[in-house]
């Protein structure tokens, strides 16, 4: 069973102002379902990152509505949006964005710390999340001591440690070699299918297609095609 966790309806976004104003998104509607891994693909400048920012509650749309786990982002101020991100969304970034001065365990724990979870259980949850991504032995390692693949797995652990319903990943395999990219994708697919989360991955990489339940193609600020690939959707 799939169920909608994130819904964007007729979302438009204008960037810049005056003569420099650009319509980055032109009425995009998209639903992310729990238990489903969705790929968002499109050429550079097609609006992928803008859409990801809006779905991730980092930007508010110029028009249209976004609902995250039933909560509308319309009229929300930056602190309300931060709360939605904190409670419902985990992020995985292309350049990992780990804190170089913190250990792997502390990097993961940070996602709980910002939610106010500071008890001993936060440490246990961080270790558990690192174990889930196959890094139980790297708890004390600093990002500089980890390979790119390991760093991305720490970033995934950070994204899931707070048990979010939605995971948004921006080019998570772009900085990795093929083998590490496949390993990271297996973890993200597992997060979607085994834990019932909605996972959206922005990518250019066609090698990720086998992991997708659904592929959404975006061009020039519009969704031009959607493919259902996963067994769950058929």
């Amino acid at each position: 069973m799939t169920y909608p966790l994130l819904e964007a309806v007729k979302v438009a976004k204008d960037l810049g102002s005056g003569a420099a104003k650009v319509a980055a998104l032109k009425g995009v509607s998209l639903t992310l379902n729990g238990g489903e891994l969705t790929l968002l693909m499109g050429p550079s400048g097609s609006g992928k990152t803008t859409l990801l920012s809006i779905l991730g509650c980092m930007l508010t749309p110029t028009a249209g509505t976004v609902r995250v786990c039933g909560h509308s982002t319309t009229g929300a101020d930056p602190e309300d949006l931060a709360l939605l991100r904190r409670e419902h969304i985990g992020f995985v970034f292309q350049s990992f964005h780990l804190f170089p001065t913190l250990s792997a365990a502390d990097n993961v724990r940070l996602a709980l710390d910002v939610r106010g979870e500071r008890s001993g259980s936060a440490k246990a949850k961080s270790r558990e999340a690192l174990a889930r991504v196959g890094l139980p032995h790297k708890i004390k390692a600093f990002p500089g001591e980890l390979s790119g693949g390991e760093q991305q797995r720490v970033a995934i652990a950070r994204a899931i440690v707070g048990n979010p319903s939605i995971v948004l990943a921006d080019e998570p395999t772009a900085a990795l070699d093929g083998e590490n990219g496949q390993a990271v994708m297996k973890i993200l697919a597992g997060i979607a299918r085994e834990q019932g989360r909605a996972v959206l991955i922005v990518t250019h990489d066609p090698r990720l297609l086998p992991f997708a339940d659904r592929v959404v193609h975006i061009e020039d600020g519009r969704i031009v095609r959607e493919e259902c690939r996963g067994a769950k959707l058929q």
Partner: protein
Amino acid sequence: MPLVFTLAFRNLFHDRLRFIATVIGIVFSIVLVTVQMGLYLGFGRTVTTMIDHASADLWIMPQGTKCFEDPSLLDMRERYRALAVNGVAEAIPVVIGFADWRMPSGATTPVFVIGSDLRAGGLQPWNVVEGQIEALSTPRAVAVDRSYFDRLGISGIGATAEIRQQLVRVAVVTNGIRSFTTTPFVFMDIDRARAHTGVPSGKATFLLVRLSPNTDKAAVRRQLLSNISDVEVLTPAEFRERSRTFWLFSTGAGAALFAGALLGVIVGTVIVAQTLYSSTKEHLTEFATLRAIGSSRRYIYAVIVCQALLNAIIGFSIAAIIGETIVQLTAATALPIVITQGLMIGLFLLTVVMCIGSAMAAIVQVTRIDPAIVFSR
């Protein structure tokens, strides 16, 4: 350990050079403020040394007297009017004035003469290290401080010199009675003081009033003011405050000290603000990541304020050690730097306020942060 503290601590120590520059800035600033405020306190104490060591319940002085060193004169008839007031046990005259001290070599130096009735003991030298106070009753006897031996061209007890062409002989030596004006104090019997300063025999600078036991000081003061015209009657605390106010504020000395302290605060604030701002700018992507993963602004402010507090604690601790060393080094000088417990607490609070105030620029920068930049970096 809370992660906010860990992050702040690691951010701070990540760039050691910048951290050292920040701490030097804070230390420089706080030491400067410490020295200025310590001088202010030291000066405030030094200018009231004579009042502190006088044995008086009330001071009678000519109207408009600004400080202890003000040489205005009272008529000695006022002494008898004072003694006539019920509750006044003694009214001891004191004479002060500047004079020239001529050394055996013929060179001269100005001195500040203090004369009082030695039998009554109104204002006598203290910290006597050589000779006896009683020796000041002998002809030509004076007391000087040993820190002024070179200045006065003498070597100790028995040395002679001239004041107003009259021979004086050192009979008592003290230790640590130093003048903030750097003019040496010379204690002597009141009659000789009059002769050496040109004060007529029927005049005095102050009358030190001692009250009988269980006397109402306020009532005596009112009675003195009604009995004696053109004088002021002050308690030692009031006279101290008046002298301090005159020297610190009427002369501009206090303003100069405060201006120096203010300069220190400004320099410190600018240095800490600049380094915190550049540190925040360098870690902007990290702060954007924190924001992206859902941290509140308050959480990020806590990291920055924590960095500022760490700067404050480390910088203040070093400044306090340097300040204490300066206090030790200046203890025996004419103008010692005084650091009280209250001043230390005030300086610590000032350091904290300065560092947190400096964090404002960094906080404003973080307030404008766009979490979406994490997708483009």
